[in-house]
C-alpha cells in the first residue's frame, strides 16, 4: 500500500515533466546526447585514439564530419567519446556530493550543538576556497586523472548542498507531522528516515540537477588547462585545450567539443529550472 503511494508520487513528477514543455525539450535533448555517446561506436567506423598522421588537420568532410585533429584522429568520434566522460562527470560526482551534502546537512540539523557547528564550519571552509583552486590542491596531491577530478568535484560541491539541506531539514522538523510522529513515540532515526528524508527528495532532485552544469564546466575547465583528465583518455575540455593552437586555421577543432559542452550544460540548466518550478514553486531563480 505504502509502496504504491510512493510510486504514484514518482509517476506524478514524471507526468508533470512530460506535460511541461520546458522540462520535456531539454530532457529529450539530454536523452539524445546520452544515446549518441552510448551508441557512438555504431555511428562511426573510426577509433577515438587511432592516429592517421597522413591525414592530419583535415577540414570537415571526406568521411570526417568534424575533420581530423593534429594527430589525424577523427574529431566527431572523439567528441562522442568525450561526451561519455562529460556525462560521467555530470552524474557521478554530483550524485556523491548530493549524498554527502544531504548526510551532512541532515546530521547538522538533527544533532545541533557541536555537530552542527563543526559540519557547518567545514562547509564554510570549503566554500571560501575558489573551486578551481581547491581542485588544483587535490590534483597536486593525486595527479591529474578522472578519479582525482571526481574527488575534487565532490569536495567543491558538498558544502553548498549541505547548507541548503540543513535549512530545508530545519523547516521540515518544524512541521506538524514530525511533531505528531515524535509524540507517538517515533525514535530519532525513524523520524529521520521515514519523515524527513522523503520530504527532502524534491529539494535533492533540484540540487542534483542544478549542480550538474557546474560539474561539467569545472571538469572541462581543468582538462582544458591540461591538469584534469590526461591523454590517452578523451575529454571535451582536453580536446578544446589541445586544439587551441590551431584556433585560427581550424576553429571547429576547439569549438566542436566546446559546443557539445554548451549543449549539455544548457539542457541541464533548462531542465533544472523546469524541475524547480514543478517540484518547488516557492523558490526563486538564482
Amino acid at each position: 500500500m505504502k509502496k504504491e503511494k510512493r510510486q504514484n508520487a514518482a509517476a506524478d513528477i514524471l507526468r508533470a515533466c512530460l506535460k511541461n514543455k520546458a522540462a520535456l525539450i531539454p530532457g529529450i535533448i539530454i536523452l539524445i546526447v546520452i544515446a549518441l555517446s552510448v551508441f557512438g561506436p555504431l555511428l562511426t567506423h573510426y577509433d577515438e585514439t587511432s592516429q592517421d598522421l597522413l591525414n592530419r588537420l583535415m577540414p570537415p568532410g571526406n568521411g570526417h564530419i568534424f575533420g581530423t585533429d593534429e594527430l589525424g584522429r577523427d574529431v566527431f568520434t572523439r567528441v562522442l567519446y568525450g561526451t561519455r566522460v562529460s556525462l560521467l562527470v555530470a552524474l557521478l560526482p554530483t550524485a556523491l556530493a548530493v549524498a554527502a551534502g544531504c548526510a551532512a546537512g541532515v546530521c547538522a540539523a538533527e544533532f545541533k550543538g557541536a555537530t552542527d557547528f563543526i559540519i557547518m564550519r567545514l562547509a564554510d571552509i570549503m566554500l571560501s576556497i575558489p573551486g578551481m583552486l581547491l581542485a588544483m590542491v587535490v590534483l597536486y596531491t593525486l595527479g591529474g586523472s578522472l578519479t582525482s577530478v571526481v574527488i575534487s568535484l565532490v569536495l567543491i560541491e558538498w558544502g553548498g548542498i549541505a547548507v541548503v539541506v540543513r535549512t530545508a531539514t530545519l523547516e521540515i522538523r518544524e512541521s506538524e507531522f514530525v511533531e505528531a510522529a515524535v509524540s507517538t513515540g517515533a525514535g530519532r532515526f525513524r523520524v529521520m528516515m521515514r519523515h524527513i528524508l522523503p520530504n527532502l527528495v524534491p529539494t535533492l532532485i533540484v540540487l542534483f540537477t542544478l549542480n550538474i552544469p557546474s560539474s561539467i564546466l569545472s571538469e572541462s575547465g581543468l582538462s582544458f588547462l591540461g591538469i584534469g583528465i590526461q591523454p590517452p583518455d578523451v575529454s571535451l575540455g582536453l580536446m578544446a585545450g589541445s586544439s587551441r593552437q590551431y584556433l585560427f586555421q581550424m576553429p571547429h577543432l576547439a569549438l566542436a567539443p566546446a559546443g557539445m559542452i554548451m549543449v549539455l550544460v544548457l539542457s541541464f540548466n533548462f531542465l533544472g529550472d523546469a524541475l524547480r518550478d514543478i517540484l518547488d514553486p516557492g523558490r526563486r531563480t538564482l
Binding site: 571552509i125 576556497i129 575558489p130 597536486y140 588547462l225 569549438l255 559542452i261 554548451m262 544548457l266
Partner: protein, 305 residues
C-alpha cells in the same frame, strides 16, 4: 555593529581552518618532497640538506604552527621553483588579477542588471525571452569557449583587440568579457526574479496611485529593494571569478594569481600553490565582509541586528 564583529571572528576561524585544510591536503602525498624535487642522481647528503632548509625535518604540527605564525606576519614561505618569497610573487601578481576582476565585475554588473531589469519590465514580451535566453546561454558556456570565440572574432577576424595581454587597457577588455560572461548571466537571472517579486508588492500600487510613471516606480522603488540579494550574489561570485581567472589568465597570458597558481601546480611548487590558494581564500573572506557592510548600509532593517 555587534553582528559585524561576530562575523569577523567567524571569518577568522574559517580562515585558520582553510590554512589547516590546505596544509594537510598538500602533505598527504606519499614520498619525500625533497627527493621528488631533486632528481634521483643526487646524493643523500644533498637531499638531507634540502629537507632541512625546507623545514621538512620537523614534525607536522611544528611545521603547521610555524607556517601559521608566518602567515600571520605575511610570510608564506619560499617558492621552490622561482627561489623567491611567495608573498613577493603574490604581491607582483595581485594587481593584474585585481584589474581583470574589477573590469569583469563592471562588465557583469552593467550587462546583468540592464538585461535583468529589461526582462522583468517587459515580462513575457519578446524582449524578456531574448534576454532570458541570453542569460541562460551566459551561464551555460564554458569560460574558455567565450575566450576562444572572442579571440577568434575580435583579434583574428576584426583585429580590433590584441590577442594576449600586453599591459595596455585594450588588451584587458577581451579577458574581462570572457571572465564576466557567466556572472552577467546569473546576475540577470537573479535580478529578473527579484524584481518580478517586488513589482507585485503593495508599495508599487502606492507609487502608481501617487502618480509616478511605471518606469519611474520600477527604477526608483522596486530596483532599490531588489538590489539587496543581487549584491549578496555578487560577493558569492567573487569565488567563481577567481576560479575563472585561472582559465582566463592562462588563455590571455596575464601574469595574475590564477596563472601563478597554475605555474605552481605545473612545476610542483608546493609553497607557492599553498600561498596562492590561501591568499584567494583571504580575498573571498574580504569580499564577504564588504558585501555584509554594503548590505547593512543599504538595508536599514539589518542595522540593529
Amino acid at each position: 555593529m555587534k553582528g559585524l564583529a561576530g562575523r569577523i571572528i567567524g571569518v577568522i576561524v574559517v580562515l585558520i581552518g582553510v590554512v589547516a585544510l590546505i596544509f594537510v591536503m598538500l602533505r598527504i602525498i606519499p614520498g619525500d618532497p625533497a627527493s621528488v624535487l631533486l632528481n634521483e642522481h643526487v646524493s643523500q647528503a644533498n637531499i638531507d640538506r634540502l629537507t632541512r632548509t625546507m623545514g621538512l625535518d620537523r614534525s607536522l604540527p611544528e611545521q603547521f604552527f610555524g607556517y601559521l605564525a608566518g602567515v600571520l606576519h605575511g610570510d608564506f614561505g619560499r617558492s621552490y621553483y622561482i627561489q623567491q618569497p611567495v608573498s613577493n610573487l603574490i604581491m607582483e601578481a595581485l594587481p593584474f588579477t585585481i584589474k581583470l576582476t574589477l573590469l569583469s565585475i563592471a562588465f557583469a554588473w552593467t550587462f546583468g542588471i540592464i538585461s535583468g531589469v529589461a526582462s522583468a519590465m517587459y515580462n513575457e514580451h519578446i524582449i524578456d525571452y531574448l534576454f532570458r535566453g541570453a542569460a541562460l546561454l551566459g551561464i551555460s558556456v564554458p569560460v574558455f569557449m567565450v575566450a576562444l570565440l572572442l579571440q577568434y572574432i575580435f583579434y583574428f577576424r576584426l583585429s580590433i583587440f590584441p590577442l594576449t595581454y600586453d599591459g595596455s587597457f585594450a588588451s584587458l577588455i577581451l579577458p574581462a568579457i570572457a571572465l564576466g560572461w557567466n556572472s552577467a548571466g546569473s546576475i540577470a537571472r537573479l535580478m529578473r526574479s527579484e524584481l518580478m517579486e517586488e513589482l507585485d508588492a503593495p508599495y508599487m500600487d502606492t507609487a502608481k496611485a501617487k502618480g509616478l510613471s511605471y518606469r519611474k516606480a520600477v527604477l526608483v522603488h522596486a530596483l532599490r529593494n531588489a538590489a539587496l540579494p543581487v549584491i549578496s550574489l555578487m560577493a558569492l561570485q567573487l569565488s567563481g571569478m577567481l576560479s575563472g581567472a585561472v582559465i582566463t589568465e592562462s588563455i590571455f597570458s596575464i601574469p595574475g594569481l590564477g596563472k601563478l597558481a597554475l605555474t605552481a601546480l605545473q612545476t610542483r611548487d608546493m609553497p607557492l600553490l599553498q600561498g596562492t590558494v590561501l591568499f584567494t581564500a583571504f580575498l573571498i573572506a574580504l569580499g564577504n565582509i564588504c558585501a555584509d557592510l554594503i548590505n547593512t548600509l543599504l538595508n536599514p532593517r539589518l542595522r540593529t541586528g
